[in-house]
Symmetry: C2
Subunit: 340 residues, 2 copies
DNA sequence: TTGTATGCGTTATCAG
DNA sequence: CTGATAACGCATACAA
């Protein structure tokens, strides 16, 4: 590998001069600048970021840790985060915890040892507390994404889960539905809890009685035991006329189950969910969803993170951004003429 | 930040001893080892990877550069790559070139400056040659993924695009189809060229005449001008009874267009494509696809890369792995009774 | 405008 | 078994 000294030697200057040319710092005569640049070209010199990191005590690296790499919601988050990072002169690395606390811990240790400048993280759930505390202990700037964790105090960007869920429920009610089931994520996740709240409120505000057995707790990640879900659905009496899914992944899994049971959406059962389906939202059966502003999640999250890094001394008060979800009416909800 | 010297001081040993404890090298008495470990715990010491990288002249970092982060095919590739990297003691970083030559160049320069140990890359197409040559020039170990680039010589893992396309076509023919259109990726991409070849062969072997106007060249990435595709489709006379899509993304876009035109799949038009649809393959309308072994692409690609890094001196001959595609028959192909 | 000395945190080498 | 010293490649502070 050619180093700054090799370049310096060949250009008959000191290493410092080369360094100045690279970083555009200090004053340099145009002549030597040109010469140095030429030599760098000739030798295919590439600065060693590792050495730079060591002396500068910063890596200009941000890390985005998400919980499900196959979820289009997070893919869009990643896009927004990437753009914001680039705009601020940072590079962005990704990691995928797969909704798994241990994988998350693994990544945290990677992050610590790599001396990443800051982290934007969607925690796996409340038990992430220990992992996040490790970051805090080492003073790694941190922004939470999509999910709150009781006990941890930091910047955060969230969706309005409660309100979104309520809207989904009320949309169903407006279409004549009364028997509405909920298939939700793990209750150790703040957004799942809020969606449940929104669901309850939606029913309550419309004087519809809540049946506990209409609520099913699964996980936001994929790979469920579909047969269990299937059994639960079959045994519901009277059967619901509509289902609210806690997120897009759950909606897709519900679709599979319904497919197997030869239940048509929306003819026989209506289905709505949180989060859009990305590139596939256009495939039938056109799910009606409460779409979250995924790109903004990533973009604003990184922006807050960069602010925090750059104002490290300033001790800014922690900020909390809550982004509303927007109801995208498509075709998975049937209008019931007679309320049953 | 607490350094190895802080630990050493507190433990009354030299920095070297601490280093030995961390890396489990050399001989150390159990007593001092225990003491050092205890002090490390107490002080929350985390080794500085940056400093390590500098002295070891390696980062234990591999980079996976893909062309479309929203494509489930690449997501699965990423999973395989991640697993293989972990198994070999490397960390994996991701990048997304978005089928854009310049973004690709950006990432290449990142990779160079970060001193990543090796790169697994799906090039954007033949013009990637210059980008790849930059890697070669700096002797960065390199494995190509999914697409060949004329002029570059290195390890590569590919799908059997020609054979896969031929199978798709012949599957359609077996079901009575004769007027089969192809919506393909950019012909500057090797896999697109091979899929075209397979398409041609499939027709030829069955004595079906090829109509050039049945071939549409789009891009494997998303965000097309759907109206152009739509126009093309409408003006075909006689209209095809089936379409082969060059990849999953194209298939989804075709679905959208057909939806707009109120053309039902498979009743009015059959549709098949390359690559599976990931979590959404189970949604209607159950596309019949030539599924590639995405996980193996990533896994084997990284494995080859690690081999190459570790046998750097050995000058292994370049290897080329070609993985067959498997036809997944689902329900997007209609059996025609009379061949039209 | 340019150069010299020094340190960033770690490990390899060699000595004890 | 343990420690002192040098080196990795670069940038900061200070000198010239």
């Amino acid at each position: 590998m050619v180093t700054i000294y090799d370049v310096a030697a060949k250009a008959n200057v000191s290493a410092m001069t080369v360094s100045r040319v690279i970083n555009n710092t200090g004053k340099i005569s145009e002549k030597t600048r040109a010469k140095v640049k030429r030599v760098m070209e000739e030798m295919n010199y590439v600065p060693n970021q590792t050495a730079r990191n060591l002396v500068l005590q910063q890596t200009k690296l941000l890390f985005l840790l998400i919980t499900d790499i196959t979820n289009p919601f997070y893919m869009t988050v990643a896009r927004g985060a990437e753009d914001a990072a680039k705009k601020n002169g940072y590079r962005l690395l990704f990691g995928n915890s797969d909704e798994d606390l241990e994988k998350e811990a693994d990544y945290i240790s990677t992050i610590l040892t790599m001396r990443v400048d800051g982290v934007l993280i969607a925690p796996t759930g409340d038990p992430s507390l220990a992992n996040l505390e490790a970051l805090h202990k080492h003073k790694v700037p941190l922004v939470l994404l999509d999910r709150e964790v009781p006990g941890i105090n930091c910047d955060i960007v969230l969706g309005d889960s409660k309100e979104g869920a309520r809207e989904l429920v009320e949309h169903l009610i407006e279409n004549g539905h009364q028997r509405i089931a909920l298939v939700n994520g793990d209750s150790s996740i703040s957004s799942a809890r809020l969606r449940l709240q929104g669901y309850r409120e939606g029913l309550l505000l419309n004087q519809i009685e809540l049946h506990e057995n209409y609520i099913y707790e699964a996980s936001f990640g994929a790979k469920h035991d579909l047969s269990r879900l299937s059994e639960w659905l079959k045994q519901l009496t009277p059967p619901p006329t509509a289902i609210v899914a806690g997120n897009n992944i759950l909606a897709v899994e519900i679709l599979r189950v319904l497919e197997e049971q030869n239940i048509d959406v929306p003819e026989q059962l209506s289905l709505v969910c949180f989060d859009d389906l990305g590139p596939y939202s256009e495939s039938k059966p056109f799910l009606t969803v409460a779409a979250q502003q995924a790109y903004q999640f990533g973009y604003l999250g990184i922006q807050m993170l960069v602010d925090r890094i750059q104002e490290r001394e300033a001790e800014l008060p922690y900020r909390k951004i809550v982004l509303p979800a927007h109801l995208q009416k498509r075709r998975s909800v049937k209008k019931l003429s007679t309320s049953t």
